[in-house]
C-alpha cells in the first residue's frame, strides 16, 4: 500500500483549485445541460417522507434546490416545471454513512493522521459515485478505511460534480478513531495510540495556551503572575483555530465538538474500549460507533450510553457453539431496535449484489423484526442525524435539500428500481438516460454481451461525474471491466 504524500496532496489541491476557478466561470460541469428550473413540482407520486406519514398522490414543490412544500394539496406556481411522477414512489435520497470507496487510496500507513483531509484523496471520477447514484444514494460520507488509529478528517459529498469542492456538502465532518486491532497493531497498541495522540494534543494545546496568555499579557503590558496551570486555563480561550498547528488542529476541534468522532469498533470488546475512551476524553456526546455484528454482546454498554451506531453490510452474526456445534444466529438490527439504539446501515458496494442496495438492507431489517419506518430511517434520516446534517438531509420536509429518489415501487420491494434521482433539485439521474446501464441491459437482452463492442463502460476519462454518463466511444478489445457492478 502506498501513501499519498501530503505534500503532493497539497499541490494537487492547489491545482484543483485553479482548475475549478477556471471552470467555475462556466458553471458546474454536470449542469452544462440547460440550467435546472428554479421551481420544480413532482406530482402524482406516493411520497415516503420518512419524517411523517406516507402521502398518496402527493406533490413535492422544490424551489432553488430546496423543498418548499410537501403534501396532497400543494398549489403549483405557474412558473414551476411540473414532473408527473404518477406510479412512482418518492423517498429521500439515501445516505451512505461511511464509505472509503470515493478515495483513490483508502488508507494511510502511519497510524495517526488527523492532519490529513480526505479532500486530497477523493476522486470525483470514481465509478463508485455513479453506482451510488444508480442505487439511490444521494449523499456519501467519505472516510478513510480502518487501518489507522486516527485517520484523516472526513467529508460529506454528493455523488455528482466535477471537483471535490463542487461535490462537497459538508467539509471536515468526522475523524475515524479505531479501537479494533488492525494489521500490525493489537488492541493494546491501538488504545495506546489513541491515548498517546490525545495526550500529545493536550500538551501541545496547553503549551500554546500558555504562550497565548503570556503574549496577551505582554501586549497589555501586564506581568505574567499566575502559575503555569492557571496561565494555560486562561490562555485556552485565547487560542483560535487558526493558531492550531496541523498535527493537533482536528483533534482539538474534535474535543471541542466541532468534529464528530466515528469510532471503528468491530467486536464487542472494541466497542467497550471505544465507549470507555470516549468517556475518558469526554467526546461521547457526539460519538458514533461503527460496529460489527458482534456488537450485540456489548448491548448493555450501548444501552447505557445511547449513542447511534453504524452497522452493516453484514447484519447477522453466526456463531458456532463450541460444545454443540450448533449455529447460533443473532440479528443485530433487531437487538439494536429492541434496545432503542438508533442505527444507520452501510451498503457493501463490493459485496453480493443484494447488499449493494440500502433498500435491500432495510428490507432485511423489516424481515428480521425491525419496524418499517425505523428500517427506512436507518438509510436516510439516521445517518443524517449522525453527521449533524439532519436539518438539511434525510427526509422530505420543507426546508430540506431536495434530494429525492423516485422508485418504480415500494423501496423495500426488491423488484423496485431507481428511475430518477434529484439532488438539490437537479435531475441527477434518469434511468432511461443511464447509457451504461441501458447498454448492459440491452446486451443482456440480445445475448450480445460477450462481444467487445458493448464495453465502453470501464473507466471514464473525462472526469464527469453524475447523472447521465455519456456513451463513450467503443473501445475495441476492451473488456467490460465493471459490467457486473451494475447489472442485476
Amino acid at each position: 500500500m502506498s501513501t499519498c504524500p501530503p505534500v503532493a496532496g497539497r499541490l494537487r489541491r492547489l491545482a484543483l483549485c485553479l482548475v475549478s476557478a477556471v471552470l467555475g466561470a462556466a458553471g458546474p460541469a454536470w449542469a452544462q445541460a440547460p440550467a435546472p428550473p428554479s421551481k420544480l413540482a413532482l406530482t402524482g407520486a406516493r411520497i415516503i417522507p420518512v419524517a411523517g406519514d406516507d402521502i398518496d398522490d402527493g406533490t413535492i414543490l422544490i424551489e432553488d434546490g430546496l423543498i418548499v412544500a410537501v403534501g396532497r394539496e400543494v398549489s403549483i406556481p405557474y412558473d414551476a416545471m411540473e414532473v408527473d411522477c404518477t406510479g412512482l414512489v418518492l423517498m429521500p435520497g439515501m445516505i451512505d454513512p461511511d464509505s472509503f470507496r470515493g478515495l483513490d487510496i483508502p488508507n494511510e500507513n502511519i497510524p495517526v493522521v488527523p492532519f490529513l483531509d480526505v479532500y486530497d484523496a477523493i476522486d470525483p471520477s470514481r465509478l463508485y459515485f455513479e453506482d451510488a447514484l444508480r442505487s439511490g444514494i444521494t449523499t456519501v460520507h467519505v472516510m478513510q478505511g480502518p487501518n489507522c488509529a486516527i485517520s484523516a478528517v472526513s467529508r460529506v459529498v454528493r455523488p455528482i460534480g466535477l471537483s471535490v469542492g463542487e461535490m462537497t456538502i459538508a467539509p471536515e465532518v468526522a475523524l475515524k478513531l479505531v479501537t479494533s486491532p488492525r494489521s500490525g497493531a493489537d488492541r493494546m497498541e491501538q488504545m495506546f495510540r489513541l491515548r498517546d495522540a490525545f495526550a500529545r494534543m493536550r500538551y501541545d494545546f496547553d503549551t500554546l495556551a500558555e504562550t497565548k496568555y503570556e503574549e496577551a499579557q505582554k501586549k497589555a503590558s501586564k506581568p505574567v503572575d499566575v502559575a503555569p496551570a492557571e496561565a494555560r486555563r486562561r490562555g485556552a480561550d485565547l487560542v483560535r483555530e487558526t493558531d492550531l498547528g496541523d498535527p493537533i488542529r482536528n483533534l482539538v476541534r474534535l474535543s471541542r465538538g466541532a468534529i464528530i468522532p466515528f469510532f471503528h469498533a468491530v467486536t464487542a470488546t472494541d466497542l467497550r474500549n471505544a465507549v470507555r475512551f470516549a468517556e475518558e476524553e469526554k467526546i461521547l456526546d457526539r460519538a458514533v460507533f461503527i460496529v460489527g455484528t458482534d456488537a450485540h454482546r456489548a448491548i448493555a454498554e450501548l444501552t447505557r450510553v445511547r449513542r447511534p451506531v453504524v452497522i452493516g453490510p453484514a447484519l447477522v452474526e453466526r456463531r458456532v457453539d463450541p460444545d454443540t456445534e450448533e449455529i447460533v444466529e443473532t440479528f443485530l438490527p433487531a437487538v439494536l431496535h429492541a434496545a432503542g439504539i438508533p442505527f444507520a446501515i452501510r451498503p457493501d458496494p463490493d459485496g453480493s449484489l443484494a447488499e449493494r442496495y440500502l433498500t435491500y438492507q432495510a428490507a432485511v431489517c423489516v424481515r428480521g423484526g425491525v419496524p418499517r419506518d425505523e428500517a427506512l430511517r436507518a438509510i436516510t434520516l439516521r445517518p443524517a442525524e449522525m453527521l449533524g446534517l439532519a436539518d438539511r438531509l434525510g427526509s422530505i420536509e420543507p426546508g430540506k435539500r431536495a434530494n429525492i429518489v423516485a422508485l418504480t415501487g415500494d423501496p423495500l420491494d426488491f423488484s423496485s428500481w431507481v428511475e430518477h434521482a434529484w439532488i438539490d433539485g437537479v435531475h441527477a439521474y434518469d434511468r432511461s438516460r443511464d447509457h451504461r446501464l441501458q447498454r448492459l441491459l440491452q446486451a443482456g437482452s440480445t445475448g450480445d454481451d460477450e462481444s467487445g463492442d458493448d464495453a465502453p463502460a470501464a473507466e471514464r476519462t473525462d472526469g464527469t461525474a453524475g447523472a447521465a454518463p455519456a456513451p463513450a466511444a467503443p473501445a475495441p478489445g476492451q473488456r467490460p471491466g465493471r459490467r457486473e457492478r451494475i447489472v442485476e
Binding site: 504524500p5 501530503p6 505534500v7 502511519i110 495517526v112 493522521v113 492532519f115 490529513l116 500490525g184 497493531a185 493489537d186 488492541r187 493494546m188 497498541e189 491501538q190 488504545m191 495506546f192 491515548r195 498517546d196 495526550a199 500529545r200 500538551y203 496541523d246 498535527p247 467486536t267 464487542a268 470488546t269 467497550r272 474500549n273 458482534d294 450485540h296 454482546r297 456489548a298 448491548i299 448493555a300 454498554e301 444501552t303 447505557r304 447477522v316 456463531r319 457453539d321 463450541p322 460444545d323 454443540t324 456445534e325 450448533e326 449455529i327 447460533v328 444466529e329 443473532t330 440479528f331 443485530l332 433487531a334 437487538v335 429492541a338 434496545a339 424481515r367 428480521g368 423484526g369
Partner: protein, 927 residues
Amino acid sequence: MIDTARRRPADARRPQWHRGAIAAVLVVLTAAPSMADESSLAVRARRIHTAAADGPAVFEPGVLIIRDGVIAAVGSDLSIPDDLPLLDLPDSVLIPGLVAASGFGAPHRGEESTGAAYRAVDAVDLYADATAWLGAGITTVHVGPGEHRLIAGRGAVVRLFGPPEQRLLLEEADLSVALGPGAWRPPDRVEFLVPPASDLAIQPPVPQRPGSRATQVATLKGAIERSLAGPGPDRVHDEALASAWRAGSPLRIRADEPADVHAAVAFLLASSRSGYVIGNSRVVRAADRLAEGGIPLVHPLEVHLNGAAPDLGTDTSVVDPDLRALAGLAHLTLAFAPPVDQPQRFRLAAAVAARSGLSAERILAAITRVPAEILGVGDRVGAIRAGMDADFVVLTDDPLQAVAHVQRTYVRGRLAWRAPVHDTLVVRAGTIWRGPGSVLHGGGVLIENGRIVEVGHRVAQPPGARVIDAGAGAFLAPGFIDARGHLGLRGDRRQVGPGLSLARLIGLGDRPEQRLAMAGVTTVHVTAYEPAAGGSQTAIVATGSAGRSARLVRAPGAVHFDLRSGDPLDAAAPLRTRLAEAKRYLDLWTKYENDLAEWTKKQAEGASAAKPADAPEPAEPVVRQETDPITGVWSGTMSGMPLPEPMSGRVSLRLTGASFEGRLIEPATDVEHRIVGTLEGDRISGRIEIETGGMGTPSFTGRLTGEDRMSGQIALMGISIAFEATRVEKTAAVRVLAPSRSRARDGRPQPPAVNDALEPLRAVLQGKAPLLVEVDGAVQIRQIVQTASDAGARLVLMGAAQAHVVADLLKEKNVGVILPPEAADAAGRARMESLGRLGIRAAFASGAEDGARNLRERLLAAVERGLSPERAMAAATMDAAALLGIEDRVGRIEPGLDADLVLYSDHPLEPASMVRRVLIKGEEVMP
C-alpha cells in the same frame, strides 16, 4: 447471556430471523442493568476443600451457602435455609476456582522498551466464551501485556465468566517487568515526523536499552527516575509509569536465570516495593533467595504430553524440574501457573508436582489461594470461605487425583460450565463382591451405556462421567436373581399355553418392580403359576429399566413343565412326546438352514447355470396335511343314568403336543366353557371347564378305541355318564403346511412355517434355553434327567425334594436345582447341606410376585441352616444366572455384563445390612 439464543435445535441451521429477533430481545432483557440474576443457592457436597489459610482445610460432608454470588457460610453441618435452592452433589468434591497467575495474554506489538502505558486490559475480550478454561476449572486469570520488554505495561486480573464489569477484578494489577534475554535488545525506534516535511531530515533509528543483563536493572531504575522527574518525550508511558510507581503497584518481575532473581530481589528490597517473581525451571535454583527476601514465586508448571520431544538436551531440569527445592522452603510463598503449552492441564500438572514432596494442601493453595493473594485479589477469590465470591469447581474426586475431572464450574454462584452429559457412570465402594471368591477391597466400577466396562481399584473416569461414591463402608454386589417368580402376572393363575410368550406381559416397571429392585432383586425369572401340559414359556426380566424392551433379559427364559402329578412310573412320558415333536420341528429348520447355506454358497459361487429364468414354473404347492388322533370335529352321544334319553352333539378338539383343547359346537351354547385334556398313548383325560353353580368341574376319562373313535366317561359329583364319539372331520384344525417344492423362483429355499408352540422347545434343543421341570421324587428325577440328556437339553429341576438322594447323578449331568420356598425342617436342612457339600448348582426361587422381596431373608435362613454365605451369595447371583443360561448378562460384576448393581451398607448377608442404592443397567432406581 447468550445462552438464551443458543437453545436452538441442531437442525435449524437456516436463517430464522424471527427467532433471532426474539433471541435479541431476550439478550437485551437479560443484559438490562438490573442484573437481578446474581445467584443465591446452597450446595451440599461430599467434601469441600476450602484452601483457606486459616480454619478447616476440608469439610466433609460440606455445605456451602451462597447469597448474591458471595459465600455466606461454609461448614459441615449447616442447616440449609428454606429460601435457597439446594444443589445436592453427594458424590462430588468442591474446590475453589483455580487461579492462573501467569500464561494469559499476548505480547503487545509496540516497540518501546519501557512502555508502561500498554494496558493488558485493553486487549482482554471480556465477552469471550472461555469454555475451554472454565472446563479445566480455571476461573480467574492474570492477563499480561507480554514479557518481551523491560517494562511491557500493566497486567490485569480478570474472571472468565459473567458480564464484563463483573469479570474485571483489577484493571491495572501490576507493572510488568521482564529481566532476562527475552527483553534485551528491543527494536530500534524510528520517529516519524508528522506531518512530514521535505525540509526536515528523517532521523536515523534510535537503539534502545537494555542490551544485556548488565544494563537491565540500570535501565529500569533510569526509566522510573526519569518518569518521576516529569514527562519526557514518551509522555504517556512516562505518566503511566510514574503513576503506577506512586500508586505502589506491585512489580511483576519475569526472571529467566537465578541471576535475574537475585537482581529482582535486590531491586525490590532496595526500593521497598511489593512484587513477585515469575520463574521457570532454572529459577527454582534461586528460590531460597526469594524465600529469604519474602518475595513470592509464581512457578509455571510443566507437563510433557505433546508427543516425543526430539531432543531434550542435557538440561535434566527440562524433563523433571526439581521442585524438591521448593518443597524444602516452607516460608516461600509459592504459586503455580498453568503449563505454558497446555494451560488446560493446570490441575493435572499440579497433581504431578506432589512428587516433589509438597503437601497436598500446599499444592491446592498454590493453584488457588496463593496466586489470588499474589495478584492482589485474595480477598475475593481463591478460597472457599465466608465473604469470598462464590467461584468454585465441582470435581468428581479429590483435586490431586489423576482420575478426577471437572463436572461443573461456578462463577459468582452461577453455573459457568458443565461437563457434557455422557452415559457414563463410575460407582465406587469400599468392598466390591465381583462374584464367588472374588472380592475387591476399595475400588470402582465403570459403566457405559448400561454395561460394566471396567472393574478395579482405580477405574477410568472419562470426562463427563457421573460418579457415585458410596464410601469405604459400602458393599457393592450384583443384584440378586429370583430363579422362579411370578412378577407382573398380578395374580393371574391361568394356565399359559405353549405358544404364548410371557415377555408380552412385561410392562414398564411399576411399584412392585420398584419394591423388588429396592430389596436388591434385579432379575426375575417369570414363570406361569401353572404350566400347560405341553410346557409353558417363561421370561427373564429386569425389575427396572428405561423402557419395556430394555427390561427383557431373555425370552423364552425356559420351557416349563410340571411333571409332579404324572404317571409315577413314567414321569418323563409327556416330556418325551413333546421333545420328539420339537425334534421333528427342529429338523425342518435344520434342513432349511442347511439348504439355505448351500444355496447361499452356490449363489456366491456364481451359479449362472441355474438362472432363475431357466427354471421351470414351480408346480402348485401341495399342502401336506398332517393329521393327529384328536384334532377335528367329533360327533357323539352321551348316555347314562341321569339322562332320560341319549343326547347327541358335536365338539371340536385340537391337539397341541400332548394336550388338547376344545369346545361344544352342537347344541350351540352361549355358556362360557372349555374342554381341556391330555392324550397319553391312547388314553384321554381332562375336564370340562364350565360354571356349574358349585357342583364342581366335570372331568372325563376315556380312550381312543380305534382310528377316529373314542369312548369314555364324564364324571360330575359322583355321577358318571358314558360317551362315544366318532371323528367326522379331520381337516378342520390341521394346518401344517409343507410346500412340496420348498424353493422359490430363484431357488432360494423357503423357511418352514413357524410354530409358536414349538419355537421355545426348539430353543431348548438348540441349547439356547433350559428345560425347567417341576418334579419331586428321586425315581422321577432319574427318568427326567435321562430324557433331557437324551434330547441334549439343558435341565433345571425345580422343587426336587429328593435331589440330595440323586446328587451324584445331578452333579454328573450338571443339572441345577431351583430351591422352592420351604419350611425349616430337617429334610430341608439335609438337602441344603448336601447340595452345599456336593457342589450342585442351586438357586433360590420366591414363587411369588413382589413377595420376592424376602429373597435375602431366605438366604439368611439358608445360611443359618448350614449353607456357607459365599455359596448363598453365589446361589442368588452367579449360579442362578448360570442355571438360567444368562451368565453372560448378569450375576457378577465383570466387564461386559449388565450393570445391575446393589449398594449395601454392609455385606448383604449381615442381617443389619441395608440396601442403599440400586442400579439396573446403569440406571439408578429411585425409591
